[in-house]
Amino acid sequence: MTIVNTFLPFLSSLISFVFAFFVFRRYAARGGAHLLLWGVGMIFYGIGGFCEGYYGAFGWNEVVYRLWYLFGAILVAAWLGQGTVYLLAKKKWAHGLMALLLVGSLYGAYKVFSAVLDPSLLTTSVHTGSELSGHAIVTGGVRALTPIFNLYGTATLVGGAIYSAWIFFRKRVLLHRTVGNILIAVGAIAPAFGGAFSRMGVPAALYIGELLGAILMFIGFQRATTAIKEKGEGVAVQAATSA
């Protein structure tokens, strides 16, 4: 047990759950499928972090591993991205993609919970086994699901945040939304970067990336939903769009 593989993921988990609380509170006040899905996505993020911390603190547990792979590795980015789809795309498209995501998520859950696992394989890669990775999954076709979900999630979540930031910048309105969306985009990329460095054998890269991602997305969300006071006017610029 080290600080890196226990404290970092537990902290990511805590931040994610607090973030989810803020998102759900906004959803309760304003409604909006995008907020609901972002909240659910952050719960998934928190579950993933908790499972990583649990593994670091207490070692292998089959159920915890399956939960980590399903929520932390497969679903989180796609569900967050689906929230952005609801914010930016036409309802018809968003509903269609949501239906696909639901079916895909159920299929993913079935595959993950029926997969054969071998924890000894966690030490067969560049990892030492001190951190969770997908190597323990023996059954074919399970790990192949991950890039599909994550490509969709990255394209929609990061792409949507960049697109929103650009739109606000082009119109030179709502500076807080521009800055907030940039932070959300950077935060959403951070775990992917961490994962890439982790696969190259950099210790703790994934957990650091996930922690940075949770912090930056949280700050970005708070920035995007809190108006910046303009100098001289003393009044807050009112948000014209809902997010």
Binding site: P147, G159, A165, F169, L175, I189
Partner: protein, 44 residues
């Protein structure tokens, strides 16, 4: 009466920072997607 054109501007720092940040993000995302697909199809 002719409409007065409004030239909105962000504060100077953000006028420079935002396009650079967005440009870098686009480059990173496109790079990541290309890399992932390339690895997926076995090109790398």
């Amino acid at each position: 009466m002719a409409e007065k054109k409004i030239n909105r501007k962000y504060p100077p720092f953000y006028e420079k920072f935002v396009p650079i940040a967005i440009g870098l993000l686009v480059l990173v995302v496109v790079g990541m997607l290309v890399f992932t697909v390339a690895v997926g199809v076995g090109a790398l």
